[in-house]
Each structure stands twice: as C-alpha cells, then as structure tokens.
Amino acid sequence: GTQITVVLPNPSAINNFPLYVALGEKMFDKEGLQVKVEAVDGSSQVLQAMSAGQAQIGQPGAAPVLAARARGVDVVFLYNHFAKSVFGVVVPEKSAIKTPADLKGAVIGVGTADGAEVGFTRAILTDLKMEEGKDYTFLPVGDGGLAAAAFLRGDIKAYAAAVSDAAIMETRGIDLREITPEQYLSYFGNGYAVMRSFMDQNPQAIEKFGRVLVRATEFGLNPANRDKVMQHTKAGNPQEGEDTKLSTALFEQVKDRITPADTSKGWGYQPPEHWELWHKSAVASGILKAPLPDLKAAYTNQFVESWNKGAK
C-alpha cells in the first residue's frame, strides 16, 4: 500500500480523534494506506516537515499556510478538520466581562505575539470599533501552565486560547467562561494540507485518506462508539488518556469544533469566504506583507464530494 506520514502540530490524540479512530479501527489498512502519525511543535514546523518531504500530509493552520505560500511553498489546504474556530476568548467564571464589548481597557493574554488567535481576537474587537494599544492590549503569555499563571496572577483579564487549553484549565479548577460571539467561529482551525506536487501525483491516496477521515469522524461522533474512541485515543497518547476526566471534557469540546456550522457541504469543506477572512487577517497582522495574488490556489474543495460520498 501507499505509505503516508501525517504530521500534527501537537501531540494530543483527542484533538485529532478521527485520525486515531481510523488507525485503531484499521480503516486505513482496508484502503491500502499505511499511515504513520508524528507530532511536532506548531504549524510552522508542520509546514517545514512537509516541504522537506518528511511528511506527506500535515495539519497546519490557515495563516501559516498563507505565510508559506508567500514564501513560495506550494502547499494546498484540503480538508477542514476544525471547521469552527479552535479559538475562543475566555474570561474567569466570576469575571464581570460578559461580552467582547466589555474588554475595553483589558489586557488580553495570547499564546504568541502574532499567533492565529491574535488575528482572530483582533478581528472581533476591530468590529466593535476598538483599537489595539488604545482600547485593549495583548500580552503574549504562552500556553498551558503559563496562561494559568497569568490568570492566577491577574496579569490578564481574558485569554484568547485554543479551546482545548480552556478545557484543560477548567478541569484543573480554573473556571472559565467563553465570550466568543458565534459569527467569529468562521476563523476555522487547523486542517489537512499537502504539497501540490503530492496532490498531483497521488490523487487516489488523498481520496482514500479523506474518505477514511470522514468515515472515522462519523464513527467517532456516534455516542455508541464513545468508549472505543477513548480507547483508540488512549492508545495514541497513553498519558493523555490516563486522565479520563480531562479527556472526556476535551472530547466534548473537540466534537463541537470539528462539526461545521453548515453541514450540508459535507466534512472537510472550506467555505471560500472563510478563507477570505483569514487572508484579510493575515495581511492586517503583517504575516503577509501583501495580499496573495492567488488565494484560491491555497485550498481546494475538489475532493470533498467524493470523500463524503465514498464514506457512506
């Protein structure tokens, strides 16, 4: 069969449960694919690994894909894994802040100074006519323990975080409330991408891979298979699986975020207007020095139909 290495931006198995379900249920084997999963640190490293040929399929975010294209790397986004934004703006449960409008004058924690969450949050607040530096400021605090420390110290009033981070903090006793308005969920999260050369040479492999993902996603979303999902993800990342309370909470979050607001186009579909959003935000934040001339080349929905059909 075809050998495929998939590279993920983080080691969580629950975040990527369809992949681990597919592995655990031997769905790839049935399609004649031999899939190996690797985890690095962040989207830029995912893209670097792909362009070096170390991995055929990667799971970067939209903004880094645009940055890589601007650097001449012909990478194509194929499959929208986190169809909704993986980011959310969260505040402590007891905080007086109820909506983004209340963030006036607040310090907002972000992972890195110009991560995707920054563009995302800035977009929300710009729409509310707030200006960075005047009405609010960002403080890069990193993730995990560092973000928790920032909350505990009171250095930040809100945190623009990946939802999984928020879920982890909640299980560890920091009660948080999300204040992200629905419409901003269009800043979709990481999804599967390939180099164009691979796509041109191995359309069948991509077809099979996506088909399996769709099948595994539907399998995993079926409440009857919950225990199996937990078992497969635990095999993928035993330490994560050890803490059942945490993994359950995470799973609920992930299920929500991978389900598109509009399911009619099928799994993996990328609405062009969402890409436009990302594109604008990337230019605004300086990730792109200038708009890309061919945004359409950054993604393709050409396989979506056959994936969703084939999976049935």
Partner: protein, 293 residues
C-alpha cells in the same frame, strides 16, 4: 651570634614548662555528621519548605504541585517503568537518543578539538566561529534537523549532539595543550613524528581535560534530547513532559523531570567511572571529585 647554642634534655629551663600543653585539633561537629545524614536532613528541610509553600497556598497547585502529590506520582511513574509500560518505552527511546547523541558529540567534538588544538589554522580561524556558534540559541535549529533527519530519533540525536559537542571541543583542545614543555622536548629528542607526539603524548596527557569536557557533555546531551523531543515530537520522555505540561498535570511534570535528572546523573556517572577506569593515573581535585561523587 656568639659561640652559644642549644642543649638537649632536662635542664633548668625545662622546669618552667606547665604540665598540660597538649592541644587537640578541633573538628567541627558538622564535619563529623555522616554524609547521608546531612543529605537526608537537607532533603527533609527542602520538602518541608515546599509543603509549607503549598499549604499556605502561596502558589497554585497547577503551577507547583505539593511534594506529596509529586512523590505519589514518582511511584506511579516508577511502577509504569517497572511494568514495562509506555513510559519504559519512552525512557528507552530517550536513552537511545542520549547515547547516540553523546557518541556523536564526542566523535565530532574530538575531531574538531584536535583540529583546534593541533593546528594554528584551527585555533586561529575555526575556533572563533565555533565560539560564535556556541553562543547561538541552538534550539532554533531544531526544525532544520527534523527536515533533514525526520521524526525518528535521528533529529533528536542531532540536536542533542549539537548542544553537547562544544565542551568536548574545548576539553580536547585544552588537553592537547596540557603536555608540558619538557615532555614535548623529550618526544622531540626521540624523533617522534607529529602523529606519534599526538597519540602517545598529547592525547594521554590531555585525558583529564578531555574527560571534564565529556562530563559537561553528558549533562548537556540529556537536555538536548529532551528539548529535541519538546520541539520535534517523537515518543520519548520529553514528549511525555510536553503532554503532561499541556495538561497542567504538574505532579507528573515534576516526577518526569526527576527521573530525567536521574538519567542525566547516570550518564554523568558513567563518564566519571570511565575516567577513573581509563585515566587511572590522574587524581581528581576535590572539587572535581565532588562533582563525580
């Protein structure tokens, strides 16, 4: 100075001597405490302070776990390791990375060290660049290694070796300069070739320096392997720490770090043991001995 002098044995003067003139050497009580007692006392004191910090809630438990939790988790991890579960596999992977990284760091560092220590070109032209490279944050090169060597242990081995090779260079080069003028002249009188002088004189003489470079490298290589796993994935101990840290599972993070530091101490001790074995003629200074226990 007249024709006077000294006498031996009892005479008038001797009678003035008081009976008790013996004084004993004073050994401080703290020096007489056995080593394990003071180490244990220190450990208990440390744990007590830690527990107090925890109890008065100076720091949130998701940042600093309680010592008790940490010790419990030490047992959990220990059990996992002993039953050959996934952590043992992770430890084995990291151990491989450490060993291979160490070997590469030693070979590469030794070769460059000989270049730097033996040739004017190496010393004057190459060394400045090596120093400059050493001041760079080497972690930034992790993606380069991943893209060259993939996700297997290769890329971690490379990063570990890259982080650890510099002390070996310095140790080797310093060792090659350690032979004194007399010994060099002696070899010259014997008509020794440059190669013979290197192999039979400079290298053995430089062994103690070389080994102190190795000891530094032994510690750095563990750090390098773990950082490589932080950044480049893989299935080792560093990855476990990363996952635990992302989950805010701080007791686990602490207990994993403690096991890792045991791995570091183990490599360090192995090198120290090799030194005692192979450089038997060199007595370590007190400070060095302490480092090597």
């Amino acid at each position: 100075m007249h024709a006077q002098g000294a006498t031996v044995h009892g005479d008038v003067a001797a009678e003035a001597v008081p009976e008790q003139t013996i004084w004993a050497e004073h050994v401080s009580w703290i020096d007489r405490v056995p080593r394990w007692v003071s180490m244990l006392a220190l450990m208990i004191g440390f744990l007590a302070v830690w527990q107090i910090i925890y109890l008065i809630e100076l720091i949130s438990p998701i940042i600093l776990p309680s010592p008790l939790e940490t010790i419990q988790d030490l047992f959990v991890v220990g059990k996992n390791l002993l039953t050959g579960d996934y952590m043992l596999l992770a430890l084995w992977i990291t151990t491989q990375e450490v060993l291979l990284g160490f070997i590469i760091a030693v070979v590469l560092g030794f070769a460059l060290g000989v270049l730097v220590g033996e040739t004017a070109f190496g010393e004057r032209a190459v060394m400045p660049y090596l120093v400059a490279i050493n001041t760079m944050p080497k972690v930034a090169f992790a993606p380069l290694f991943v893209s060259w060597l993939g996700f297997g242990i290769g890329s971690k081995v490379a990063l570990a070796a890259f982080i650890a090779f510099f002390p070996v260079i310095v140790g080797t080069a310093a060792g090659l300069h350690a032979a004194d003028q007399n010994a060099r002249m002696l070899f010259k009188t014997m008509g020794a070739s440059r190669w013979q002088t290197l192999v039979q004189l400079k290298l053995p003489t430089g062994m103690p320096h070389f080994f102190s470079g190795l000891k530094n490298a032994a510690v750095l290589v563990v750090v390098g392997a773990v950082v490589g796993e932080f950044l480049g994935g893989g299935k080792g101990f560093g990855e476990l720490i990363r996952v635990a840290a992302a989950q805010l599972n701080t007791p686990r993070v602490f207990s994993l770090i403690i096991y890792l530091s045991l791995l570091g101490l183990a490599t360090f001790w192995i090198v120290a043991w090799m030194q005692r074995r192979f450089v038997f003629w060199h007595k370590e200074s007190v400070a060095e001995e302490t480092l090597a226990q």
